[in-house]
Amino acid sequence: MPRTAAVNTSKAVELFEEDLTKGNDIICICLSSGLSSSYNNIVIAKNMLQKKYPDSKIAVIDSLTGSLAEGLIALKALNMKKEGKNYEEIITYINKYKDYYNIEFFVDDLTYLIHGGRISKTAASLGQLLRVKPLINIDEFGKVQVVEKVRGSKRMNSILIDRMLSKIDKNDIDAIGIVHSDNLDGAVKLQENVENLKITGKYILTEIGPVIASHIGPGGYGLTYKMKNEK
């Protein structure tokens, strides 16, 4: 099983500096500090550069989430920029609402999470029962937790959707993400179920990238969206 390494500080310095030399301000949205040291490494990069470029602002934001939930925050920041919102307005929004971006994911097997140290054996034991599919999300501290366990697979989609409907404001949703780890068939079926709800907004189907996938393993799928209330 591969190990992933956090963002390299010198790489972040190099990339940031390309834009700082143009006089840009920087907003960087990072994978949860509860899952990776990437955030801390990028903060080091920020500290190295801030004195050198005192006229530029650098905000490094711990998303306290990951995968497309982190991505949805970045896409929101981009939309706000396109709408003409200024740096402070974007930062204020992200810091206020980043905790509202939820990702919930059925994992086929918790072995990968245990191996990667992303979930404790005690917490995982809930999901290790025979034929039980654990539903995970990321808690307020940015760490993976098992929130429900479902016997068999028939109810997985309805559980994901019911939980989403209880958490979202249908009139205030930019996008719903459908994410999977090498389970396109399951994700497509889930997307069909979600689209039947006729919720206004964009639907984004994506494969979970190698970094997260190496921790959760293949076969899972789930949803990500902005909640109306806190977790």
Binding site: P2, A5, A6, I27, L31, L68, D182
Partner: protein, 53 residues
């Protein structure tokens, strides 16, 4: 007013991120047991390729 650059790390999983040139990605590296090889963003491995390693 300065222009704003938006960065994410590789874990944001935004599909077709090249369609959003305004968002820049910081790579994350992978190390494989038994191989003295470091894969970064440039290698651009798929999730499936990672899992069969």
């Amino acid at each position: 007013m300065n222009d704003i650059s938006i960065f994410v790390d590789k874990c944001s999983d935004i599909p077709n991120i090249k369609d959003y040139p305004e968002i820049k990605t910081i790579p994350i590296y992978y190390y494989f047991n038994g191989e003295d090889i470091e894969y970064g963003d440039e290698k651009n491995l798929t999730m499936r390729e990672i899992l069969i390693k």
